[in-house]
Subunit: 320 residues, 4 copies
């Protein structure tokens, strides 16, 4: 299913190299100002261009097909689409025989019996995160007074941002790729969002974040480090204004406690690398050398903070 | 919402110190053998008794109210309940004024305007994981040929199991508690379970796992370490039998790839510790010393592997 | 699936002759007064005893297993169960070979490959409407200021209530059964409940009402008669206080318009009749005479108004 | 919510006079042949042009944005859109003050605080049934071997089709409108579709059918007439090939029994009539005369059989 949310609900569609990709956003309150220009800033943050990102460029102009009238939301579902123009499908023909390591080529071919659209990763493409960023813009409008900020805090294990530019250039020259960690913080949340058990804030955030291609881990507050702590260290005592520290990442028993919601996301290194890879050729039935050409990010994590923000906003808009 | 799943669907109910707790399991295929004895082994694994676990003992006898006829499932919903007998509610009266650090007392009181049942954590209690273990037993029966095994791999940051017994005794003597990490592996899965994006295997597993009280992080395959790797290290090349290594934890593009599903779960240290804690007294409106008596685990992570297995089985039974 | 609703959500379980039947009600606001005595009046309305109803008697005492603390709802899921005591399972053994006309014996056996519980209709039994009546009591408490009243307006096509007693006696003497029509009216609804298209008030009400065993039709306002009208007759003009007549039954475009919600439900005659029926014997593979003994209503529609109210309350509690 | 279905799932969007309307169809199996020409026949059946239908004409050309690759479905969501071109929005300005009797103008304005798009009925418009017809075409492809046929069986209470043309002309001349009844039959269904209670076939069909604007009633098999029958008349005895008559309309206990699924739908007369109507003017706060110009069907029921088929196909594709 390509749908998420109970009240504020999104449904994505599209393939990397199909005619259009888009999203339907249902449950948006009426009367919010919304115009195509509102999307520009967040879409630009996801766009390639910086060191370490793909040279594929798209206009990425959102078309609002429905749900907006005279510059305001109507309460009816909003459909936003983007045209795919700059596609080079010939790049992808070889992966029928040799599915790319770290990609969905193989599982998609088995699951859909080779009927899937293989071009550009098809429906699995990271390009589908573009409509999610658009939905995030709408969700952030719903979340008046709540601030969501995500940033990349490490690349290839290095937290010193001054070294990143050089690392990216070296890795690109080596035909390789790098992973990274994004930290997201949401402030201004009311106490009481979420439910115990299956609709815990962590469950819903993790569900949405693991839907972003390339995520390997999600942790809240002290995260994995909490497993090495004692209760007297990890517990957050209360003061007159709420918790006095934030080892829990803003959530107790699945419910927001008034402290900032804080979590980190581990992104794997880009799977498509220029370096030759030894992998199986299902046509010749022998190991073979795969050389991926195409245009790919050295470190796609660079482009993900705005996607993490969007997913977080979508979850919180559904809870508020 | 206290419900999870689309086809194989569970709904939990009950409070730690209410009359009964239970679960309704819908979407179970007809014709599976099922009797109360089938639950004994997994329930015993969750039960206290070992060093580092609470002395609260319950009979934990499952009652099958529906959905089973002449020892076989009928296809109708199965309701399983457990009686709460061994409760000491007076232990909990003081937490109205001084909500326990690391617990849901505070958020529950704010969210439900002090109408919630505070005894034993009420509906937030870890005791509610007992019916989840019962549903896991049913889910495992649905997953014929699939093997799910979870085990505790570290306590308080220590992976040397020979030292655990001593650490637990020392920590108990200090009135403190310890966290731990559980690793879960599912083998025998077909290729193709899961969907890209919102129904990715990672999204669904993480959703269910973060519903277990006390989880701080979930990671798949190389997990957070992947963020420090290069693509050439993290990518799993294919061989004639599928992936030749398992950095992805058995999932590509949200879909199982035939390798074992592998993930780790970080559990925080038990929040209820015997050591006095400085925290806010909302009645006197001053900082105060909280002394928690009751009966609590030193390291509740010891009892969680079977719960992690149950949640995993519930997710996989829904996907299969 | 045995679940209905998005926010106020019910999940039913149980079989007619199993140990217990029950319902889990999720999404109930905290702080509502609720005790077992609250259920007595509505349960009595569903109970047999009047002319034309089955002599099977059950104590029908609700057990509240969870979600209520010190006489008030807590916001956690409420599970209510009823014990099945007065069962005579031997009555049902013959229907393996000769499924009863008008019953689910045949489809259940085919669908679940004869693994279903055949006793008393199993999970299909009208007895499962008892927990629905209990959920209706809770839903009515949520709907403060809204009044829902259903009544039987015809039996066997006759709207003259004075003749019903005689008709029922005659039909019982003939070993036959009668259908009936129930009309339900809900007043005090705010304007604006429901959504266009799939969550229209009519869609949700009809969905819930057709879940009651034995319903053959549902119509709103002028209903089927509207299809024979002209627009100038059927349209409801507005006055200063809203619609001046109620041909639409209180709904425009799927959304409540402030007029009373009015709909009618057609119930078929009881399928189990004492008269011999010619039907197929799947064991002998020949037509045969079926003689149903057991204890059955002459006109089960007599017991349904409170069930219609309950279903309506469940839908409206979810929308409010 | 504008979404329906659990596996085969549709989400509609768009307003009558917005830029585009459309539908996202998720859960379509891969490998089905699908091209724009497949939609022509069903779209033509919904199009105006015959006596009694609106002169508004649209090209109604479907655009397939996603989910189809080289003429076959891929298993990914299919988005189909239609451009709105032939709009005359000035027709609708007067209804702010004087909401049209029988329309959603009034409830939409109250519900969304006058932020809704009033042009052409906005998101409430019957035009939104066009994407539903498109989804029906896809659903029918999923339902190989199952035949769904709906036809209009009465107009204004008259079942003699030879008189219809004259009745429509007379009614149009009188500035009035007519309702009608559609009967739908689905053959070739396997035994066992549907579930007892909330996912009964009748519940799901009625839910979807009442989502069509203008429906006042739905009945299965003998329908409301069953309420006037005796059990010995209404019961369907079994023969060697299944039920020997079809009073139940092909469903027992919510589950298909192998007989054709048969139901009837009552459509109200078109609400927009040319005749002046006395109704309230919310600006002048006095009764006033409303004169609706625009372009409207005399009997929109003429265009609905293909919509009823589409909704039925959507429900059955979800169940199969």
């Amino acid at each position: 299913m390509d749908t998420f949310g109970r009240i504020f609900r999104v449904s994505i569609f599209g393939e990397s190299h199909g005619p259009q990709i888009g999203i339907v956003i249902d449950g948006v309150p009426e009367g919010l100002e919304l115009c195509p220009e509102d999307f520009a800033a967040d879409i630009a943050r996801r766009a390639p261009g910086a060191t370490g990102t793909t040279p594929r460029r798209e206009a990425d102009e959102p078309q609002i097909l429905s749900g907006v009238y005279e510059g305001h939301t109507t309460g009816a579902p909003i459909c936003i689409t983007f045209v795919n123009a700059n596609t080079r499908s010939s790049d992808y023909s070889q992966f029928d025989a040799m599915p790319r390591p770290g990609h969905a080529d193989y599982v998609a071919a088995v699951k859909w019996d080779w009927a899937n659209d293989p071009r550009g990763g098809g429906h699995f493409s990271g390009r589908i995160t573009l409509p999610i960023v658009a939905a995030g813009v709408v969700a952030k409008k719903v979340l008046e007074g709540i601030d969501i900020k995500a940033e990349l805090i490490s690349i290839g294990g290095c937290t010193d941002k001054e070294r990143w530019h050089e690392m990216l250039k070296e890795t690109a020259a080596a035909g390789d790729s790098l992973g990274g960690v994004v930290e997201c913080t949401a402030t201004g949340l009311p106490i009481g969002l979420g439910e115990p058990f299956f609709d815990s804030v962590e469950s819903l955030i993790a569900h949405a974040i693991f839907a972003i291609p390339g995520v390997r881990g999600v942790e809240f507050g002290d995260g994995f480090a909490a497993a090495s702590m004692r209760g007297s260290q990890h517990n957050d005592p209360f003061g007159p204004l709420g918790p006095t520290k934030n080892g829990a990442g803003g959530v107790n028993g699945g419910i927001t406690n008034g402290a900032p919601l804080v979590f980190r996301v581990a992104f794997k290194p880009t799977a498509s690398i220029a370096r030759p890879q030894q992998t199986y050729n299902f046509k010749t039935e022998a190991m073979d050398t795969l050389q991926i050409k195409g245009r790919h990010d050295v470190c796609f994590a660079l482009r993900t903070p705005v996607i993490v923000e969007a997913m977080t906003a979508i979850v919180l808009a559904d809870l508020v």
